[in-house]
Each structure stands twice: as C-alpha cells, then as structure tokens.
Amino acid sequence: MRGEALYLPLSPYASLLTDANMPLITLSNVYKTYRHGSLEVTALTDFSLEIAEGEFIVLAGPSGSGKTTVLNLVGGLDRPSAGAVTVGALEIASASAAVLADYRLRRVGFIFQSYNLIPVLTAAENAEFTLMLQGVPRPERRRRVTELFIELGIEGLEERRPGDLSGGQQQRVAIARALAAAPGVVLADEPTANLDSHTAEELLDLMRDLNRRRGVTFLFSSHDDRVIGRARRVVRLEDGRMVGDSTTNR
C-alpha cells in the first residue's frame, strides 16, 4: 500500500462512521463524464446525495439516467470527474487504486444484474471468494458461507456450478458473496431485472430482512416499480440529475 494510512481501522460489522452524526455516504456536486472515442457522454450532473448508515435506499430512473454511475462511484470502481464522493472517512476521488481495491474487498459488497458468478467455481467457492482474497483460512470461510447459505435458503447447493443453478439461486449466491465479508454497504445494480416477479419479490424481502437484522446499508438501482415500492427512501434520477428524493414510513 506504499505507506498510505489505512482509511478505516474498523472491525467487521462496525460502523463506518467516525462521527455518529455524519452521514455514511456523501456525494456532493458530483459530475461524471465518460469519453467514447471523440464523443463525450455526461453521466452525472451536479449530483448530491447523503445516505445514513443502515438505510435501504433505491436509485430509480430509466436506463441511462446515471444510476449505475452512482453505484460505481460509491463502490470505488470509478472516480468522479468533479465533486466529492466520501464513504466514511474515505475520499474516493483521491484514493489510490490499491486503497480502493482494499476498500471494495473489506467495506463493500456488490450484487449485479447478471449475477456475475465465476463460472469455473462452485456456489460455495464463489461465496467464499472475497474471504479468500482477504486471506481468511479455509475452515473459517466454509463456516461463514454455510451459515449464510442457510440464512439465504440455498443450503445444499454449495457444490453446484453457477451453470446448474436457476437465476434466483444464482442471485442468492451472489448475495452470499456480497455479504460474506460482512461489509458495511451492499451495492446492487438492478438485482432483480433478470428474475421473474415472484422470485424478485422473495429476494427483495430477503434483502430488506438482512438490512433490518444486520444494519447493513443497501443501495439499489432499479427501474422496476415493485422494487421501488418496497424502499423507504427513493431517489429519482433523470439524465444524470436528481429529480426527486422521497422517504416514506415503511
């Protein structure tokens, strides 16, 4: 890590906050532009958002509205073109690649629309992947994953390859992978878009449940009204700008 101070000297499940009154995630006046050859695409324009710890929040909007960009920025996969993205004490824009990799490894869990399980690994191995990267010994890895599989209702599928699992099962394995390292934040990009409505609802209930019991902050993107309807807080985006931020008592 070339001598850089670790940004967050915290234990798993502990708060990412250094000050209890500060929001966990802050995006302030963020701009993001991508270059596609000679074409410049603006993904986010003057976007500001604060998310507190333990929130279950959805980014809603049509495709291309900038939802994924927000997730990528919060997940440390990308840096803002202008403005600031802070998660806990970590300033994403100025962090080195190694710090960001470690941040993703220990603090963030990802869930993707197309599951993105590694096809050559079994379900359990996929779920263990981040723990392996962290250097957690194998028996401990197995123990945690077995617990998670029971909690997620996919026990008995540990040795299956992703190709032999249904979409819902694959996404549960992906959730197990995202949660295995006990991150403070789980980012899910259209997690239910590839699932039928029944499975999608089951999965949402599961995530809502995890959010309540574990206090893990969930940040979603979706254009699916069923998903949006289940969130306490909905942030609406259009053309890279925030057009609404509503909280309901649910």
């Binding site: 990308d78 490894l105 993105n116 590694i118 096809p119 050559v120 992947f129």
Partner: protein, 410 residues
C-alpha cells in the same frame, strides 16, 4: 479453493483451445528432445569411430607434435603404455608412428601417410580395419607386411602379395626407401583415406626414419567417453618425470571432428530456438485470448476487491500450470520417441550417400539416439520458463483492466 484451483479450472474452461496449445507445446518438447537425443547418439557414434581411427579419446604427444606434425618429435613409450593400460576405464593403448612418405610401384607413385602400428591392438579397435580378416592383418611390428587402402592399391596398380617401395626422410636428412609387401586391403568409404592409407608395423616405420623404438602418438581408447576427465587426471602424475609429454583430449587432437559436431549442433540449436519461439508466440496468443474473453469475469473479480497484482498472478499461475502439464506430456512423448529411436533408429540410406564423410569420419546412415536425461529435463524446465515469459504480456494486460469498462463488456 485457492488461486491454483481457480487457475486450473479456468484453464479447462476452453478445453479445445487449451488442448491445442498443450499439444503444440508438448509436441515441440518431444521434437526437440528426440532430435537432440538423436544428435547425441549420432555424435557419440562419430566420436567413437573418430577416436578409434584417430587419436583416441586421449592421446599422449610430445609437445609441439600436434601443431607441427614434425616427425622428429617422437618419444619412447618405455613403460608408459603399460602404466596407462592399467588405469581403470582404459580399454586399449595404441602406440603409433606417422610418417609422410612416397609410395611407389613400378607403375606410379603417391604421397601417403605411413602409419606404424601395433597390429593386434589396432585390429580390434580401428574402424578402418573393420572387415579386414585376421590373417590379412600385419603379422608383427617390424615385418615388411603392409595394409593398404583400396584406392591407393588401385592407383598403384598393385594386388595382394605384390611389392611396393616406400620412401621417407631419415632423421639425418637423407631419403631412405624400404620394400613392403601388400598383405591386406581396406576400404573405408572415405576417398581421402582409401587413397592414402598405408599401415605397417610400428618398428618397421620407425626404422625407416631411424627413430628406433620411438613413437609419435599414444592413443588411449576408453570404455566410455564420459570417463575422459578421470583418466586424464590419472595420466597426469605418470607424466611427471616426462615433462616433454602431454595428454591431449580428442577435441584438441581432432578439431575437424570436434568442430563438425559443434557446427552441426549449432545449426540444430538454431532450429530449436525457432521452434520454441513459435510455440511461445502461440502461448502468448492463447493466454491473451483467454484473458480477453474473460474481461467481464476479471472486472467482477476486481470489483470484489481483488488487487490488479492478484489478477496478474492468476494469469501467471494459469501459464505455469499450462507449461507444467505440457512439459510432463512433452517429456513422456519425448521419452517414447527416444525409446523408439534408441531401439529402432532412423535409416537414412535412401537419402544420404552410404559413405558420407563428415568431420573426417564416415557418417553412419542409420541414426540411433542416445538418452540425455539431464538435457531432456533442462529443456522441459526451459519451456515452463518460456510459458511464464509468454504470460507476462497477458498478465500485464489483465492487471490494467478497469472494472467499470470490463463489466460493460460482453
């Protein structure tokens, strides 16, 4: 689950591609090993023939003789021959006299090299005398019998039992002639040898120049050429009180043969290098394709918090596994091929002349391999190293992947 397992499974994700690449590497190892072993076998054969006809694995000369071939630089073998013969590993010790001379019949004359030998020992060792029956050989070391090359015999219009005159320079500077009688005729297949070989007993040759019992060369034949260093070390103390003498290895005494082998092997090595180069390019191609088609997967792995270094290592481990499997398969194939070539060999009679001379020896058109296990292991390790080298670019490429772009990729 660990990185090796992940790498191993990834390797077999595209079974066909991995198999084709494996085949290419393994077959190249096999080819290189088999050809090397074949060459080693052929060289051993050439060296064996060469040393038996020529200076032996080791030869004792008086200082300066090898460079000048000056007849006056002889030495008395005294009991040196017996002492050397007693060294373990020494099969035969052959004292020889070499005299440039003129051979004349009533018909014609030829410049020749008169070789004075110890008949019994020479007959069992010298491949030039292969096919010569025992009663056609010289009978003693000082008789007037001569064994003559077939072409020289014909050039001089001689026949077995006929006489010829040999003229050489005496130590005192005058020319001396001796009458010899043809007893045996040899045909080696090398026109130069067949046209100039004339062998007599070593004392008869020595008498011609007034050398008495002196010889020019003490050729030492070993059981096994690998024992050369050991025997050379054992000879050194024997020469302590004979500072005018030195033992010389065949490579120095017969540069023609040694360099023929060197050149032949160098050209073979050039071909080996090209083969391995092509294989390496193939491995780069395979690994690069494998990285490029897993861009999305690598993007996910990065998103999950893997460092670029880990991805690079993953690609290198895949290459290592590929290289090791290929090396094992290649060695098995190489061993099978060598086994065949040791046992059966390759018959080139249809393609090369049967009496093809190379480096001063007749090249046997039936090639047989010899095992060189150390080299086989070495080349297998080289290939594993090359595979790793080939993985560097794909690994660097994998390390440069950015997760956001990679995951947008299909």
């Amino acid at each position: 689950m660990n990185a090796f397992l992940y790498a191993w499974r990834s390797l077999w994700r595209n079974r066909r591609r991995t198999l084709i690449t494996l085949t290419a590497i393994a077959l190249s190892i096999m080819l290189v090993q088999a050809f090397h072993n074949l060459a080693v076998g052929a060289y051993a054969r050439m060296i064996d023939d060469g040393v038996r006809a020529g200076s032996g694995h080791l030869a004792v000369y008086r200082h300066g003789y090898l460079e000048s071939r000056e007849e006056n630089l002889g030495f008395s073998p005294a009991n040196l021959a017996a002492q050397i013969r007693a060294i373990p590993g020494v099969t035969k010790v052959l004292p020889r006299v070499y005299l440039p001379a003129l051979a004349q019949s009533s018909h014609d004359s030829r410049g020749i090299l008169l070789i004075g030998v110890e008949p019994e020992a020479e007959l069992t060792v010298n491949p030039f005398l292969k096919g010569l029956s025992a009663d056609a050989m010289l009978r003693d070391i000082d008789g007037r019998d001569a064994v003559i090359g077939k072409r020289l015999l014909d050039d001089l219009k001689l026949a077995v039992g006929r006489k010829l005159v040999v003229t050489a320079q005496h130590r005192d500077g005058t020319l001396h002639s001796e009458l010899l009688r043809v007893r045996g005729v040899v045909s080696t297949g090398m026109p130069d040898i067949d046209g100039s070989l004339l062998m007599v007993g070593r004392q008869r040759a020595a008498l011609l120049t007034g050398m008495q019992d002196d010889i020019h060369e003490l050729a030492i034949i070993l059981n096994d050429s690998d024992e050369e260093a050991f025997v050379a070390a054992a000879i050194t103390p024997l020469l302590h009180d004979r500072p005018e003498l030195a033992a010389v290895s065949w490579e120095k005494a017969m540069p023609n043969l040694a360099n023929a082998i060197k050149l032949d092997y160098a050209s073979q090595k050039f071909i080996f290098v090209i083969i391995l180069l092509i294989v390496t390019i193939g491995v780069v191609n395979t690994l690069l394709m494998s990285v490029m088609e897993r861009l999305r997967e690598f993007g996910v792995v990065l998103a999950l918090g893997s460092s670029p270094g880990r991805l690079r290592r993953l690609v290198l481990i895949e290459a290592l596994l590929l290289g090791m499997v290929a090396a094992v398969a290649g060695c098995v194939l190489g061993a099978l091929a060598t086994w065949y070539l040791v046992d059966i060999g390759i018959d080139l009679k249809r393609f090369i002349p049967e009496t093809l001379e190379f480096g001063g020896v007749v090249f046997d058109p039936v090639l047989r391999a010899a095992w060189d296990l150390a080299w086989m292991a070495k080349i297998a390790l080289y290939v594993v190293g090359l595979t790793l080298l080939a993985a560097l670019y794909p690994a660097i490429k994998a390390g440069r992947i950015t997760p956001v772009e990679a995951m947008r990729h299909h």
